[in-house]
Amino acid sequence: MSTATSQTDQDKQAFWQQLQSFVGKEIGPPQPAPDEVNIPMIRHWCEAIGDNNPIYLDSAAAAASIHQQIVAPPTMLQAWVMAGIKPRVVSGTSPYEEMNQLLFSHNFTSVVATNCEQTYDRYLHPGDRLSMTTTIDSISPEKTTALGTGHFITTRQDYFDQNNQRVGSMLFRIIRFRPAARKETASNAVRPRPATTHDNSWWFDGLQNAKLFIQRCTKCQALRFPPGPVCPTCVSMDWEPVEAVGTGTIHSFVITHYPQVPGLEYPLPVLLIDLDEGVRMVMNPIDTDIADLAIGKKVDIVLRATDDELTLPFAKVHK
């Protein structure tokens, strides 16, 4: 199957190497803070946040504290170098933009911030004048999250004072992702189609006609599943379908939560059922509480149409 967004392994490898080439790159020249650390900005921040710690605005209280003088709230670190209402003018393209264009061209078009980690080397005082450098710190391999599939991008910002001493740093992580398909309701999403071939379509046709078949070698009589052209026991290519009785036992099961595929309901149990004839099939349960699933439990196999074109076997687990 091929879709517009599918890639060969080779393409993926090339894309990954291109992405990795951005790691460690600095994004343009250091950004200077527009103003020195100052009382009015501290006051606006403390009022808006409702922060009554006196060391930020009350000189006497600050002098009596371990800080010995007025300090800025440490979590204001980033605010001192924010560009403000006018976007910064960037000359040329920065590695960051080039990286984003590369991600965009691979349909990683959405972005959400996930982590922000600030570390403070010292508290800032009114009069400190900061500048900031930004480096692409790391790029994760492709990950699938509830939001969609994408790459986590971590940038590192280092903040320096007027003496070029580092005063703090910040790791900022975002995920650039392809949005996951919207959760569709059972009414408008159909179950994914099975991959049918010349060698197995007869089995799915049997289900459409309300018959669950097992393949039997006409030479050595061995039963086999899934359907295939050659007997794995005696390599004969002669076979016939026999109808299953429709009873079995849970051999094993998992309950899947993510990633979610439209047309299926989650959490979705997936069972391996040993049919009493001796072959093993994979199927979902029906009319069964998840709590009633257990290895070794007996099941009845029920054929149920999931839509007009598809009928599948389901396991109804005995209480």
Partner: protein, 136 residues
């Protein structure tokens, strides 16, 4: 309001911080965005926020950091030195929500104390933060 000033002998692992509930008004969300020089429209312009797929304006990340810092010193007082604030972001903070801040001491070593802070609203955790502080 007089803040207490804690020392290392006042704290122990497992101790919980006093809860703090922050009512997130539209004024608070815009005032904190502007106080942090963050003029992105999603923090003050509801129609643009909706156009970009949000249900309303959302509180900015700098403010999330600010509230975590405030929550720590509201409890520990002016002699706290905050070494680091590491936040993991969850659901957005919309106007009309209340962010319930809770915290617990998870580690101490000498004068170093680690506090895990959560801020949750009606939709779940907005923030889970690990804060490292030094107390006298």
């Amino acid at each position: 309001m007089t803040l207490l000033s804690l020392t290392i002998s006042d704290v122990e692992i497992g101790q919980e911080l006093p809860p703090l509930d922050i009512v997130l008004t539209r004024t608070l969300i815009t005032a904190t965005a502007i106080a942090s020089r963050d003029y992105q429209e999603v923090h003050h312009d509801p129609s643009i926020a909706v156009e970009r797929g949000s249900q309303d304006i959302i509180m900015n990340i700098l403010t999330t950091n600010g509230f975590v810092g405030r929550y720590i010193t509201d409890w520990a007082g002016p002699n706290t030195f905050i070494k680091s604030v590491k936040v993991r972001l969850g659901v957005p903070n919309y106007p009309g929500e209340t962010m319930k801040m809770r915290g617990k001491i998870t580690a101490t070593s000498g004068n170093d104390v680690t506090v895990v802070v959560t801020g949750s609203n009606s939709m779940g955790d907005h923030v889970t933060a690990t804060v490292e502080i030094v107390l006298p």
